[in-house]
Each structure stands twice: as C-alpha cells, then as structure tokens.
Symmetry: C2
Subunit: 444 residues, 2 copies
C-alpha cells in the first residue's frame, strides 16, 4: 500500500486536510502488522482495539479543529518506556508484572502531539545484549540489531512509520543500520528519560527511528525538551530540526572521516561502499572529506565507556541480580559482575574524561561540519543470538554527541548498511542540515 511509504510530514497534512482519517491510516498499518508480524515479531505488546480507539478519538478531535503535530500517526514504543495503558516488561520476565503508574514523559509528549501509541516494541533483556524474538525484516535469518530491535524492525517493515528507542552504547544507530532505516540519537540531555528503564544515568539517551530524515526531525521535535523529572535534561532552547532538515547547508559541507583504531573491524564491502560515498562527496557533490586521526587518548574511550556502563548496570540492576539471578542471561550477569568490581576512582576517572573529550570536539567542529563514519561493522550478522558490535557508536554515545544513521549503502548480500553522521554537542540542527544534504545528493 503506497500510502505507507508516504512521509509522516505528508501524512499529518493529509489528515489535517481530511483526505484520510487517523482510523483509516492506523487500520492500514494494522493490516501490515497482521501480514508481517508473524515473521518479523517486532511487537512485545500490540492491541488492535486500543490503537483503533485512540485513532477514533483523534478523528473526533480533528473534527473539532484540534491538531497536534503528529495528529493521528501511529508510533511504536520500545518496551522500556512506561505506558499507563500497556504493560512494560523491559525485555525480562522479572519485570513482566511491574505496574506502570503513569506514562513516561516521552509517551505523554507524543500523546499531546496527537500520536497513536501503536504498541510496545521488542527490546533486548534490560536494554542490554540478550535479544528478544525480533528478526531482521530484510533477512529473517539475521539479527535486527539491538537493543531497540523491535522499533527498528517495525519501522523497516512499515508496520509503523515512526518508533522510539534508546541508546546506551549503540542501540539506535546499529539496528537502524542493520534494518535500513533512519536512526537518530540526539545530543545527551535533549530528551527526558523520566519513567524509562534506567541502565546508566550517565549514558542512556533516547532516540527515534523513521524512514526519512524529515520524519526523524518531526517526531524528535515533539519529545525534546527540559523535564524537571529528569534533572539531566538541558535548558537549552529546543532545536528547530524540521526546519533544519528542509534547509540547505550555507555551503557544501566539510566532513571528517576519522581513522578509528578499530577501523579494521569494518567489513570489506562496507569499506568499499564507504570509499564510494567519500569519492562521491568529494568529486561529484563538491563537498570535502578530510581523513583525521584522533589523539592517542581517545583509544581508551571504549574502555571508559565500559567502566561507566557496567558500573551503572551493577547499581541499576542490583535488585534483579540479588533476587532473580536465575532469570537473568549469562551475558548480563557477567556485565553486572564486572560492574561490581570497578572502584569508585576508576569510575570517576572514566567519567571525568567525558568533559575532556568534549572540549576536544568543541574545537574540532570549528573546522568540520560533521564526522562521517560507519554506523556498524557491516551488514546485520547471521543468526539471532548476537545483536552485532556497537563499537562504531561508543565514542559518540560516551561524549553525548548527536548522531544519525542514514540508509545509504548495501552490503554484498544486498542488505542495508548505514552511514553515520555525528555533530557537535547541541548542534543537532547542523546535523540535520547535513544529513538532508547527503540523503538528497546521494539519491540523485
């Protein structure tokens, strides 16, 4: 059904003009879910009636002239975000019976914008590595990536045009890359984590999935904003992402291609694809790509990230570990147990380097418009047990810099491979301008 490939920006306009009702739109997605869900298994909770009921209410609101910016559009929610009328299991049977007393800030803001909360998408166990049931829609024998597996797969298979996820290491950018959709992780502090499962207060960041850069901008604008209930959210003015995604950069951008110490992990065909993109930017599009090496200290970031993440997991999941160890996966038990062993000095040391790294990048972005870098090591790996290596996301998550994965490449098996752009702290607008530039140029 072609309407499902329409951009959300256009869908909202159509609903506003009365050309299509939210009920019709939601039902067309439900039809898609019925067709594909038995294969893809992206949903942890989906209740057809509940979705249609919301759409009907929004159609009534439409008649009385009320329109949110996502009016009538269905959104999938990673199953670690609390929802008052749907269960939240956090990918573990330990939490299955936990009552949700309220909507998290993100869901509450989406409802205010008129979104239909379509259901809860599959997450890895406690948003870490042990996968749920979801398969990659492009090849059911492969992982969709994790931990926002269901959100990426649901958007990729057009069961929903938008979805919300979270990233503590590479849980948005990596599945977006594997599933061939746009994944956007804003600057740390732009989106509230109130009533979202806490893995690591220092590292957890909320983000979104969509089929276009514009749509990612549209949904993000609805959920960005300071929230007293997440004291780490920023008081900075909200970025105008939709506008930025529709603007041209003031001049052809200058990208930095960073020779990361783990570049050898990039698969050969992805490396070739990347070289082609770089050539295209330089030779056809009049942009620039400089090859850059980071100072030596940056080699330790993956280790510092690990210390913070596992330390915080040991604190966040201490109850689960103490009372329900037998219901936890081996992988997460090992991470928690490593986390229990770091000293407070190692932890504070790892944290203190975040500011130093950001000071470096602040200077860096006087010279470059964006970093261009792989989103993942290549195509989605075979099998469902391993959700893939997040290493191409770790530095940016650690620093809290904004990142977007664009579905621009194909691997040797014809599966999607993402190109990641990264921008400076709170320069999410510039990230969107450059992402749109690259997408539109590469489509020509």
């Amino acid at each position: 059904m072609s309407s499902l490939k329409t951009s959300v920006v256009e869908m909202v306009k159509s609903i506003k003009r009365g050309e299509i009702s939210s009920e019709e739109l939601v039902k067309s997605y439900i039809k898609e879910i019925k067709k594909k869900e038995k294969d893809v298994e992206a949903w942890e909770f989906f209740d057809e009636e509940l979705a249609i009921e919301q759409a009907k209410k929004l159609d009534l609101l439409h008649q009385s002239g009320n329109h949110g910016d996502l009016h009538g559009v269905p959104v999938g929610i990673k199953d670690i975000f609390d929802t008052v009328d749907m269960p939240t299991a956090d990918g573990t049977e330990i939490h299955k019976e936990n009552p949700c007393l309220n909507d998290c800030t993100v869901v509450s803001k989406l409802k205010q914008a008129g979104a239909v909360i379509m259901g809860k998408t599959v997450t890895c166990e406690l948003a870490y590595y042990s996968p749920g049931k979801t398969k990659n829609p492009h090849d059911l024998s492969r992982t969709p990536g994790g931990s926002s597996s269901g959100s990426a797969a649901a958007v990729a298979s057009h069961m929903v045009p938008l979805a919300v996820g979270s990233q503590t290491n590479g849980s948005i950018i990596r599945p977006a890359s594997y599933c061939g959709v746009v994944g956007y992780k804003p600057t740390r502090g732009l989106i509230s984590r109130h009533l979202v499962l806490q893995v690591s207060r220092k590292l957890d960041q909320v983000g979104v999935f969509s089929n276009s850069v514009e749509d990612a901008a549209l949904i993000s604008e609805q959920i960005i904003g300071h929230d007293k209930q997440d004291p780490d959210t920023s008081l900075n003015p909200k970025p105008k992402l939709l506008l930025a995604s529709q603007q041209k950069p003031p001049m052809e951008p200058v990208f930095a291609y960073i020779k990361l110490p783990f570049m050898n992990l990039l698969e050969d065909d992805s490396k070739e694809g990347f070289d082609e993109i770089k050539d295209e930017i330089k030779n056809k599009l009049n942009g620039k790509v400089d090859e850059i090496e980071l100072p030596d200290g940056f080699k330790n970031i993956t280790e510092w990230h690990k210390i913070i993440m596992e330390s915080d997991m040991a604190a966040s999941f201490s109850k689960e570990y103490k009372a329900f160890k037998n219901k936890l996966s081996k992988k997460i038990i090992e991470a928690i147990e490593r986390g229990m062993k770091y000293t407070s000095v190692e932890y504070n040391d790892a944290l203190s380097k975040i500011d130093a790294a950001n000071a470096y990048f602040k200077q860096f972005f006087y010279d470059y418009d964006a970093i261009i870098t792989p989103s993942a090591t290549g195509e989605a790996p075979k099998g469902l047990e391993f959700t893939g290596n997040p290493i191409f996301c770790t530095i940016w998550t650690y620093c809290g810099m904004p990142a977007i994965s664009l579905p621009l490449l194909q691997g040797k098996n014809g599966l999607p491979v993402g190109v990641q752009l990264v921008s400076s702290h709170f320069d999410d607008e510039r990230l969107f301008r450059n992402a749109s530039w690259l997408m539109s140029k590469s489509n020509k």
Copy 2:
C-alpha cells in the same frame, strides 16, 4: 577600636557617605592584625601594601561615584580559592609553587562588589583534617576548628569583618561554632566553586563567616549566582538574603529538634545550654520546638557521606598521592587509601540516597520552619592537632541543605558554642528570617 565591631552593613554606608575611607578602615584592621596575628596565626598570606593599594583605588572610585555593595570592606579568603595576585597553597607545600592564572569566581565577584581582598587565611591540608598553624582566639591552647580555620579565627578576632570558607563535611559550621562567629553554608549549588580546590565535586560547598546574620547575608548575596564554569551551580533566582535577614517571620517559627543517633556525643554543658534555648523558644518567645526522630535509614548518612567524600578525594588527589605521598599527612593518606577501595556500586549507592533524603526533607519542611541542632559536640577541643568532630554537620552537607551557625551558647570554660539552624533546599531566605528572629530574641 569600636568601629571594628560595627556591622558591615553600617560600614558600607559610612564609606558611601564619606564618613570613613576604605583606606582608614583597612588600616584599622591592619592594626588589629599586627596586634593579634602573632598569637592567632590566621593568615597564610597577608601583604599590608597590597591591601592598602586596593583600598586607595576603591577610595578613588568612591570619589567618582562608583559603589559596590561591599565597597571598601576587607574580606579574608580561605587559601584554597585562587587569587591572581596572591599565592594559593591549599594547606600543603605540594601546591605552594602552583601558579594561579586567574581569580576564582568568588574572588572575582567580591572584587566586583568593591571588597578589599585582605589576604589568604589558613586552611587544613587540602581542606581536610590536618591543621595549619591557626589557634582559637578565645583560648590559644585550643583548635579553631577546620578546615576553614583561618577564616573563622580572623573574623572572631576582628582582624577582618568577613571571610570566605568552604565545607565538604563540617568545615564552616564547626569552626564558626568554636570561634563564636556566624557561619553560613548556603544550599548546594548557590555559589560557584570555579578555581577553588576540589575535594569532592558532589560535596564541596562554599560559605562565609561574619559577626552578624545580616553581614553573612550581605556578603553571600555578592557571591551567589549561576556560573557556567561550575556546571553544578543552580539557575534558580538569587535569594534576597539581606532583606530576609531584616524581616520578621510571618509567625513565630516552629523548630524541629532532631534526636540524632549520635546525640550522646554532645557535651553535658552544651546539652544544658541547648535545653535552655529550647525552653526559651517555647516559654518566653512563643515559638515551638518539636522533638523529632528521623527514619531509620538516616542512620547510614554519615557512612554514605564518607564513601562519597573519600572516593572523591582519592580521585581529586591522585596526583598528590602518586607523586608526593611523602609530603602528605598520615590522616589524608588513610582517607585517600580508603577512598581507593570503594567500588563504583557503593559510590553510586551512596550518591543515590541524597535524592531520597531530600525528598523526605522536602515534605518535612511543610511542617517545620527550621531544624535546630548543635553546630558541634561542644566547646573547641584542647590542643591544635584535632580540629574537632564534624558529625553535627554531616547530614546537612550530604543533603546540600542550607545551614547557619549562631554564636548563642557558652560552654563550661566560657568558650563559645554554636546553635545550628538548617532549612530546606533553596529556602535560604527562610533560614535567614529564622536566624535573625532567634538572634534578636535571644539577645533580649
């Protein structure tokens, strides 16, 4: 000289009216320093000429009609605050040669308010427990308390009418109590720690010493304020402390006297003095004092505080420990070594309880205007080696609640003993109203 006992609020008015010049005022304090410093030894750095030079410049500014709110008044600065034209040794020979490149935010704000930076006051080694040379002006055989030893002693002996200090456990309230002056530690986040020696980012709080509640309000108003360079400073509006210190509470206050688990440490004569104050409040002043017990969990706060403080010290002083261990005291080496052993989980657990404790107190202060509690265990201890027990400050420092020590009691040796009032987070104005009420009532 009677002018030295005048309140700073009055001094500033006299200077503004031209009744006294800053040079005259500063010289009268210098005279006092020359008389008393050989006994009290409150100053780490004092340069007569540098002080007079500042005063002369301020007198010129006076003639051209420029007046800061502390115009021409000398202030002592604890020797852990960077000053561009005076050395900063942090109480250790290791730092003696460290260059100061700039004034810290506090000193810069004091200069903007027209204060004369009189000199640097003695601090304990790295603002911890090992004392400097300073003696208690009321009895030279006794400790002035620590770590803001020189600031408290200088104000108590009228060598300067105002001084700045800092508190990570009990380093303002305790020396204020021992020296018989007013000591005020604002709500955490009100005063910037930019270019101040960092002991613990989580716990370090700047505060002041003065001879009256009004004067503490006046100097604090000059240095309170958000500072981008200390990201933990608050964006809340600045409290109007001077106004509050001159206002009556809307009705007679209701105090909470908390039966702390370590109340047995309070010396008998201080306990009697405290009972008299409570009686006076209830029977003569129409106030109320309820005796309250804290929930059981609060018993662990001193341990949580210790975990955070020592962990942070191990991180803050790792260079000193690695390169100059032979120049550190046994006490601080032991603290650093304990700090090196805590796990990140213990550390995060200790931190996470701060919010829970504050949630309790938020509710608590719907019923009470202030907590009334001892500032210390009694009179200043004999000898100079032990700076006294900070335990009556620990809970409030841990929570970041505002506290003020009022010189209201006397011990059996005729030495001063402070009464501490504590108020709710960011309710520093109410603290000052109640402090002024208690001071003026008790003076009658």
